[in-house]
């Protein structure tokens, strides 16, 4: 983060999309664990966990980007992200690897990218068999925070189903 040449990227899956995040912004990676649901919270909020005495909000990355939520799977991981004022846990479908990030490999996001994805992406990296989307975590979190006002009045049925599923 400090010097541009030593940047590293943590890659992970959200749905079938590879996403990369500056490793300096990820404090730790946890396996999925039980959390306390917070009823009436927005759909992407899975709940809260106690991380060594600190309360961490857990978000479902899929839900934020509009992919239907998935049953719990062993491959799922929780990325603990230090945002400005609090710690956020982001549930992703799988974690890939840590790779060096070369500034010149970043391309701008293609127009074909869905609008929501585009909003939080800082560009993409083309690799032979995959495309990694660079995540701007601040924008991503902003989107998820905004969603609470939207989800507030979105159909409650979905939430009820989700709630049931979390049990």
């Amino acid at each position: 983060m400090q010097s541009s040449d030593s940047k590293e990227l943590l890659t992970f899956l959200v749905g079938h999309q590879w996403v990369g995040l500056d490793i300096d912004q990820v404090r730790e990676v946890l396996s999925r664990q039980p959390f306390t649901p917070v009823p009436m919270a927005s759909a992407a909020v899975l709940g809260l966990i106690n991380l060594r005495g600190r309360v961490v909000t857990i978000l479902d990355a899929r839900t934020v980007v509009g992919i239907p939520m998935q049953e719990e799977e062993a491959s799922q991981r929780v990325l603990i992200i230090e945002s400005e004022s609090e710690a956020i846990g982001l549930v992703v479908d799988a974690v890939g690897e840590v790779m060096p990030l070369e500034a010149d490999s970043i391309e701008s996001s293609p127009d074909s990218l869905p609008l929501l994805w585009k909003e939080f992406s800082d560009g993409i990296i083309q690799q032979e068999e995959r495309v990694i989307l660079l995540m701007n975590i601040k924008k991503f979190l902003d989107i998820s925070i905004q969603q609470q006002t939207e989800t507030k009045d979105i159909n409650d049925d979905t939430r009820a189903i989700n709630q049931g599923r979390r049990k």
Binding site: F35, T36, P37, V38, P39, M40, A41, S42, A44, V45, G47, L48, I49, N50, G53, V55, T57, L59, S85, E86, I88, L141, S144, I145, Q148, T149, K152, D156, R159, A160, I161, Q163, G164, K167
Partner: protein
């Protein structure tokens, strides 16, 4: 210009700002004191010194604008001192304005790092003009003329200083512009207040370092601590409390005594630490009240009113977070009171009131809460006007408007719909922003209500918790989900089976009938859309937010836990039903429910609300079987007994209890009475405490006999509904209830007495005449009172049949006829009135005496209600109770002879 000044080191600047701000605080105080005591040289000197210090420092720091203003102010003050000119209202106003200007510059310096670009030149000119005016008045023009004096037109000086020429303080009584809402007030009574005028004159020089308002009476032995550090410490302590909780839970599972002991120590130390740290965060309310006299003065002056501020309890301390949150709502309320509450002097005179209105502020602590009242003796608010307004705004429908009580109508002033509407109406203006006031107060867990009487004034009452950081809560659960409910909102816990007949559904809203009152219920499962199967058994947590009373239906209650409130993250901003979360002893996270918001969620349909209002009105008088209950303590456990049985509390010397054979006895008021030690009853081993010289004893009496119950300590005496939550297997206890959040065993006092004196109940029964046994049908829904009275009656030799409500009583009456019907009035299903009416309608019960036994007797005037009863007695009226039974029964059976009275209570006369 001023930018250059800020090469100085930050520390110096910080000190300067702190000192100056403190100086300003005392400056305002002194100025206002000076206004009411114009000739006070000490005050004038103190004001002068403050101004002088600020001038000097600003020159040193190169703050030009500040220096100029302070200089002009100082010159004027210096002239006043030289001439012995008494400060009048206008000069004080001008100087206060100067103080404001200085403050605004300081704020600018603090936040921006430089003097703000505000043009203070007109103010400086007016100060100088005033100074010259003084000079011309005195005729001495040679001395100390400010060299900087410009040729300001004299007209301006005169214009802004109209009263400077006259030394008298004649207030100009103009009708204030703001139209007032009052009808012609009828009351003359001003608010009785004996306090001296506020602010108290500050005698000593407000040298910046010496003192800070009234907040810190002693400068010695205290140091300044950075608030950030204090907050950080608070967080650490919070974590410590959590770890402690966890540790305690873990050690419970082990049995190593050393570990347990160490944990106990840690527990205690943590508690003390927590308590002490909490105390460091406490600040007296005077820190936010300090500015109030000033605000009131300004408004009063602006509106041509005369308002006196009386403050009581300035030393009352509150957590600084809460204090900070209270400042704005409090100011708003006060502005409202001055603006719209207190009338113009002319109006007050016509109404026969004192010309000067009084604004009374009071703060006091009351069981974990701070109660702040703001009372004015103004025109009051008419509930009718509010009703009309609410009706026109659609806040109430016609039926509701008719049904709503005056008090409830007044509270509507906090309703957003009404509040905003008032901005354009000339009704009062009083409601403006009151919804915001309420919201702000609720944010810190408080509540606010309003009382008003047309003509004599309005009182607002704010109730807030002492501290926020660590709170006792009740942990409840729905399915797997747990929630914490702050205990300050929890009034009662009760079990509520899904099949209970107390459930009612009115217009789609669910209610639970509690002691005759319909309690609106928030079902967490539905409200929070938990999507759980409705469970059969459940509990209701009775919530009182101060603003409304309702129940929260939950699946289960886990118990009480002290928790540290942690904020919820940004993803929960729009959710007002939680006021944070916490980590429990077992490490899990729980959301904390915000009861005010849940209450607002009730969203009762209009019909249901109307039904509830009517129901409340109906049962207002008959509400709840409130019992005076005495709580006593043994070890950690609390026990409750009805106060009616306690004749006296005595602190006896150890030696007063004597031994007589196997038993212990006490000579008490000429009687020898048995002594029972509660710890013996419980089989608790003697310990150190036994060594105390004084024993706490309850003298119990049923009106005839006495006994002494020695206990470890007395808790409190409360007026509470006695309801058994959990029946007990223990023969000595009727069951367990929750009183003020603590589990409390209700003692079956008759069982206890039987132990002390097995013959107690027999002595009277084996009376002279073994006459025909009388039958009493005793109808009472409260198990507690049934348990209390039935044995008493039996002890008198009556045969007691018990029914739990009117319906059960009817069923019994269909089969057998008692000699007397003794009934409670407030009962579910069929109340005492209905029952009595039914009995009276039946020819087969002609002549059967009916006695009503109630905590809330109907008024004498309500003859219709009283008609069916031979007597109406209150439950507190123990001594005459038996007497009355006897009389009435005697009359019924022997045609007026009252033998039984003597029979059943031979020792009555010798009683207390």
């Amino acid at each position: 210009m001023s930018d250059d000044a800020f090469d100085m080191d930050d520390e110096l600047l910080t000190v300067f700002l702190e000192e100056s701000n403190e100086g300003l605080e005392s400056l305002d105080e002194s100025l206002m004191a000076l206004e009411s005591d114009p000739g006070n040289d000490d005050l004038l000197a103190s004001v002068f010194r403050t101004m002088h210090t600020i001038k000097g420092n600003s020159g040193f720091l190169g703050l030009e604008r500040l220096g100029k203003i302070a200089h002009a102010g100082e010159d004027l003050l210096s002239k006043m001192r030289a001439m012995n000119f008494p400060a009048d209202e206008n000069i004080v106003s001008l100087l206060l304005e100067t103080s404001d200007a200085i403050r605004s510059i300081l704020t600018g310096v603090e936040t921006e790092g430089s003097e703000p670009e505000i043009d203070h030149e007109p103010l400086v000119r007016r100060l100088k003009a005033s100074e010259r005016l003084l000079e011309s008045l005195s005729g001495e023009s040679a001395t100390e003329t400010s060299t900087e004096a410009e040729n300001t037109p004299l007209e301006e000086a005169i214009e802004t200083e109209p009263a400077a020429a006259t030394e008298e303080k004649v207030p100009i009584e103009t009708e204030p512009a703001a139209a007032t809402e009052e009808k012609a007030p009828v009351e003359t009574e001003p608010v009785a207040a004996t306090e001296e005028k506020v602010p108290a004159p500050v005698k000593s020089a407000p040298a910046p370092k010496a003192k800070k308002g009234t907040a810190k009476p002693q400068a010695s032995g205290s140091i300044r601590v950075d608030l950030g550090l204090l907050d950080a410490m608070m967080n650490q302590i919070s974590e410590l409390v959590l770890s402690r909780n966890r540790l305690m839970q873990l050690t419970e599972k082990t049995a190593a005594p050393e570990l347990i002991n160490t944990c106990r120590d840690i527990n205690q130390i943590t508690e003390h630490l927590q308590e002490q740290l909490l105390r460091t965060r406490m600040q007296p309310i005077s820190t936010i009240w300090g500015t109030i006299p000033r605000i009131v003065r300004d408004i009063a002056k602006q509106l041509g009113k005369k308002i006196r501020v009386v403050m009581e309890g300035q030393d009352t301390e509150l957590d600084r977070t809460i204090l900070a949150a209270l400042k704005d709502p409090l100011t708003h309320i006060i502005r409202n009171s001055c603006d719209h509450g207190i009338e113009s002097p002319e109006k007050r005179r016509l109404a026969g009131k004192t010309i000067e209105g009084t604004l009374n502020l009071q703060a006091k602590q009351e069981s974990g809460f701070i109660i702040i009242t703001i009372q004015d003796d103004g025109g009051g608010i008419s509930p009718d006007i509010i009703k009309t307004k609410a009706l026109s705004m659609g806040v109430l429908n016609e039926r509701q408007a008719e049904d709503i009580s005056d008090n409830a109508a007044l509270q509507l002033i906090f309703n957003a719909g009404l509040s905003t509407a008032e901005k354009v109406s000339d009704l009062s203006g009083r409601g403006v922003g009151m919804d915001v006031v309420r919201t702000e107060i609720e944010k810190v867990g408080g509540s606010v209500d309003i009382q008003s009487e047309v003509g004599s004034g309005t009182t607002l009452r704010i109730r807030i918790p002492l501290t926020l950081a660590i709170i006792p809560t009740m942990i409840v659960g729905c399915g797997e989900q747990r929630f914490a409910i702050p205990q300050m909102n929890v009034k009662e816990l009760m079990s509520a089976h899904a099949d209970s007949e107390h459930w009612h559904e009115i217009a789609g809203s669910r209610f639970f009938r509690v002691r005759g009152r319909l309690l609106p219920i928030v079902n967490l499962n539905d409200t929070l859309k938990l999507g759980l199967e409705a469970s059969k058994s459940g509990s209701i947590v009775l919530i009182d937010t101060g603003e409304r009373i309702f129940g929260i239906a939950v699946d289960r209650i886990y118990g009480a836990e002290e928790i540290v409130v942690k904020p919820l993250g940004l993803h929960f901003q729009t959710l007002d039903i939680y006021n944070g979360c916490s980590i429990l002893g077992d490490g899990s996270v729980v959301p904390i429910l915000e009861c005010n918001a849940l209450g607002h969620l009730l969203n009762l349909s209009k019909e249901a609300e109307a039904a509830q209002i009517m129901d409340d009105e109906k049962s207002e008088k008959t509400l709840a079987e409130i019992q005076h209950t005495l709580i006593f303590i043994q070890g950690e456990q609390r026990y409750a007994i009805p106060l009616v049985l306690v004749e006296r509390l005595e602190h006896l010397g150890k030696e007063q209890i004597e031994r007589s054979g196997e038993h212990e006895i006490l000579q008490y008021r000429g009687q020898i009475i048995p002594v029972l030690r509660w710890k013996d009853v419980l089989d608790i081993e003697e310990d150190e405490a036994e060594k105390t010289e004084h024993l706490t004893c309850l003298i119990l009496s049923d009106g005839i006999k006495r006994m002494c119950l020695q206990v470890e300590g007395i808790g409190e005496i409360l007026e509470i509904p006695m309801e058994i939550k959990m029946p007990s297997d223990h023969p000595l206890f009727l069951g367990t209830t929750v009183i003020e959040g603590k589990a409390t065993e209700i003692v079956d006092i008759y069982e206890v007495i039987k132990r002390a004196d097995p013959g107690w109940f027999n002595s009277t029964r084996n009376g002279k005449h073994q006459q025909e046994q009388k039958h009493i049908l005793f109808v009472e829904d409260a198990p507690f009172f049934r348990g209390l009275l039935a044995p008493m009656l039996e002890a008198k030799g009556y045969d007691v049949w018990i029914a739990r409500d009117g319906v059960e009583a009817c069923a019994i009456l269909e089969n057998k006829v008692p000699d007397l019907l003794l009934t409670d009035l407030e009962m579910p299903n069929m109340d005492g009135y209905e029952l009595a009416a039914w009995v009276r309608s039946r020819t087969d019960f002609t002549g059967m005496p009916i006695i009503a036994l109630t905590s809330n007797p109907p008024d004498e005037s309500e003859t219709g209600k009283r008609a069916c009863f031979d007597a109406i007695m209150t439950k507190e009226d123990r001594p005459t109770l038996m007497d009355q039974f006897g009389k009435i029964l005697g009359k019924a059976s022997t045609g007026g002879k009252t033998d039984i009275v003597h029979d059943i209570s031979p020792e009555q006369d010798g009683g207390p």
